[in-house]
Amino acid sequence: MAEELPELVLISDLNLDNLSNILRSREDLPWRVRTAPLDAVVQALSGSGHGSSTALVWTRPERVSLHFQRAFRYERVNKSDVLLEVDRFIDMLLDAAGRWQRILVPLWQVPADAHGGLQELRDGTGYHALLLSMNARLCERLSERSNIHLLNSGRWVERAGAGAWSDRMWFLTKTPYSNEVFRAAAEDLLAFHTLATGGSVKLIVLDLDDTLWGGVVGDDGWENLRLGGHDAIGESFVDFQRTLKGLKERGIMLAIASKNDREVALEAMDKHPEMVLERSDFVAMRIDWNDKPGNIADMVRELNIGAQSVLFIDDNPVERSRVREFLPEVIVPEWPANKLLYTRTLRALPVFGLEAISDEDRRRTTLYQEAEDRERTRSSFAGVEEWLASLGTKVVVSPLSTSDLARVHQLFGKTNQFNLTTRRWTEQELRDRMEDPLRPIWSFRVSDRFGDSGLTGMVGLDLTDPDRAVLGDLVMSCRVLGRKVEEAMLHVACDHARSLGRTRLTAELIPTAKNGPCRTFMEASGFERTGTNTFVWDLGTEYPVPATLELVSGEMSDRS
């Protein structure tokens, strides 16, 4: 039976039927779209049963704030009255947040060509100034909730250009925007879904010549590359590199796939005074004369990430075409011939999640470099067990705590491959589970002699049925896959269920297109397979802790 898609509910005080149609025109739509009755925002957001649904709450500023409406009609109003109405709206959203998987809120807009006279941006009297304050209030107060996301509707209006606003459609159908705006909104909503469900780019693979710097280093020499200086093209390459460096600091890994003599290219990286990116910024480098798709495939395998998480940037259309042909999952954007447009093109790609940054994100390049070191030692051992034992792996298990909530929520939201059920718990639901002894969650931190992989696993039990124990969640970053951490996680789940007198632990896998690694593990886990997707452990027997690692309780361990 086909998996039922989650629901996207369009909640609005403007007519969103055109948006609904445009969304449903997409064959790859990840939602069932439902439109709530027009102008029934409060009613649509209230009630329960929305746990797996996303709400798009698209309102007009003049409807949310009647004082703003008066200001828009050139009356004098008090800013505090406007913000009071905005706060009421925000309170309603915050109240609803716990009942929805996600709430998406486009920023408020008014036509930019509406002229507000000399006062339009004067704080307290101009309506444009008021609108800025209203949107700022949304940003300030809604940022505290991780499942409420503000959407930059200004981008949609800008993309639609002069025809963005349609007074004709407004008076005829209460649709203030043209379909161009809704098309841009639909694109952003789809991109948002991809990013929010783990589809964010994790690795950018870059060419060197005429991509990271201007010129061909093998022909021109590193001294003559166009990079920095009083030169528009040179400046644009520095700007491009700075932007890439910023992405790297936000946890996006960088790698190189370049057809060049390695030593010549590395000399340029090391010696050119205007080079922003350094060797250590790259998690992998393939600088040789081999085919790029093969090199990229090697890097993807070594880094243990999905090809769909890779962005390939190359100025050469032939190379782009080859990568598209041989690695169709890799994202290969069209790249402008004009080098001055590189940074803008990169920034316009809706592929970077850039969520609240965790320690793991910040250290991602280091973590993968450690993983590479770890793998490199593998060949020097006769067997896997011996190699695993040599790593000195330490797994620290802790009950879910407030300090881990952001990372745990992020892992639940983004992990697809090693994920038993792919349930996406909201932050509020996770908070509730912290207090619920019948639905406990544990987090797992993994480290070894090569480094600290951080919080990389979660196990959740459902003990609400007194006659049995259900493994509701088994989620792990693929970064630590194959080091028997997953077995330690099962041990913790079994041990807890045993301690409560339960006799069997049942794991019901919900298969998806991506969670094959979890299925493979469960099939080899020692659990008895009692159905196509059902696995059971008889708790009369202890589920063993792997001998190759040390399992420590976080309550007794110094996590600093």
Binding site: N21, S25, M169, L172, F182
Partner: protein, 100 residues
């Protein structure tokens, strides 16, 4: 300014309808041709579709022919007073009006 020929207006109407079609779920798309009924009995457009079409035509006429021909400020059912209006009939009406 010389009035446009019938064909360009019919072509414009068809291109507006095709664009609207693209913005509909595949199952709700209609076959579009000069004989397609757009208003009245058996019409391919719902009320939102009619509004989208009329506004698309107004904007298209302005863009392509530089003419301001208001359509959205009147009741088209009353205007035509016909059980159904095809693309060709609508284009003919527009030509007549723009020539008038």
């Amino acid at each position: 300014m010389a009035a446009p020929e019938l064909d360009p207006l019919e072509t414009l109407a068809l291109s507006v309808l095709e664009r609207l079609n693209e913005d509909l779920p595949p199952a709700e798309r209609a076959t579009v041709g000069p004989g397609s009924v757009i208003l009245g009995e058996g019409g391919m457009l719902d009320s939102l579709g009619v509004a989208n079409f009329i506004v698309g035509m107004e904007e298209g006429i302005e863009l392509r022919f530089g003419r301001d021909v208001p359509l959205s400020d009147q009741d088209l059912v009353e205007l035509f007073d016909e059980p159904s209006v095809t693309v060709a009939r609508f284009a003919a009406y527009l030509r007549e009006r723009m020539n008038g």
